[in-house]
């Protein structure tokens, strides 16, 4: 069985690899709030495991092997199931779930995971709209685009909010930007400036910087 630490590295590498195709030492260190040498050590260990979880090229970085990706998807499945459970069963808000899910994900037996999934009706989306891998690690293909990509006058349904900081999630919830809400872009300031959007839920308008609108995703199926 993998240690929690290894599971956390797997998650980090998975995310970085899916953002930029490659996970280098500093990026992992940043993502995990850990010093660089700790990452180097761990990458070597993970590459030396039987079977190897990553392939590692010094001075370049790491990529998940198929075995590593399978494990990473399992951890992500549990994390997202836990977040869903915390919101749906225990009444957490979407900004409260992350830290607790992070701990629970390392303390879950296969039985617990199955029971939680069944209790929730085998959910496919967590409280932030992230896909929940199924038992086999399969993710649905979705078509969505960042809110930033809409032009003024366009509107769409929020399918995912990939904000990492709880404060941002709380703020978005407060101004009515929740999952499945329809938003309309009223104005898009030039020079990479903010977007002014209207929430159908709250009925109010708000200006949002692009660091945020890049992380709010809209159904592209229209």
């Amino acid at each position: 069985m993998l240690t929690s630490s290894v599971e956390n590295y797997l998650k980090a590498i998975y995310y970085l690899q899916h953002e930029s195709g490659w996970a280098n030492t500093s990026a992992i260190a940043d993502h995990m709030t850990v010093a660089n040498p700790s990452v180097t050590m761990m990458l070597k260990r993970m590459a030396a495991m039987q079977p190897p979880l990553i392939s590692y090229t010094p001075y370049e970085g790491a990529r998940l092997t198929p075995a590593g990706e399978k494990q990473a998807l399992e951890v992500i499945r549990v994390h997202r199931l836990m977040e869903t459970f915390l919101v749906r069963v225990l009444g957490y808000t979407w900004d409260e779930v992350h830290a607790d899910a992070d701990r629970l994900e390392h303390a879950s037996s296969p039985l617990l995971i199955e029971r939680i999934s069944a209790l929730l009706g085998d959910p496919v989306r967590d409280p932030h709209g992230e896909d929940i891998p199924d038992r086999n690690g399969l993710l649905p293909n979705r078509s969505e685009l960042p809110l930033t990509n809409l032009i003024a006058g366009q509107s769409g349904r929020i399918t995912r909010v990939a904000a990492d900081r709880p404060e941002i999630l709380r703020y978005l919830g407060e101004i009515g930007l929740n999952l499945d809400v329809t938003v309309e872009v009223l104005e898009k300031a030039p020079f990479e400036g903010p977007l002014t959007v209207h929430s159908s839920e709250s009925g109010s308008d708000h200006a949002l910087g692009r660091e945020i609108t890049n992380r709010i995703f809209i159904d592209a199926a229209h």
Copy 2:
């Protein structure tokens, strides 16, 4: 914050102290399936903590300080809440809960604990009939006696089953010896021999050794 390891030692010391008034090195080592020297080391560390969790006398053993007892009761509270949750919400049987609760108890935030307790209606008894300490670590006083102490012809309600091994719990469940079931002692063999008991739940009779009947408790309020 305490590590899981320290939390486990606290639990072990608490149990041993309540069984025999004192927790010595070997007993702790046995209870935790760990080598003796590991225990000695840990006891020293726990006695040196600020505030000390135990008082430790070399070659004698350990006792919880008030601070240690408070922490131990908190861990036990979480453990028993988790067991209750696993049974009531996730449909575990009483023999399946222990290992999972053992891991979850170390991964629970204060918020999680409060929410679970509230969801369950602040339960006071876990699936084995063990008392759940309240938020302040207080335990109700109960009057109960081991099934062994009944004489032939007496009957009573099962209030607690302190069997540690899951196989025993499973067996007891199968023959209808569950919490709150009324049992009658039909026969009590001499020379510390087995008791033959009748379960009102299953309607069947079974002979049980005293290692088991010592761990089944009956309401003494009658």
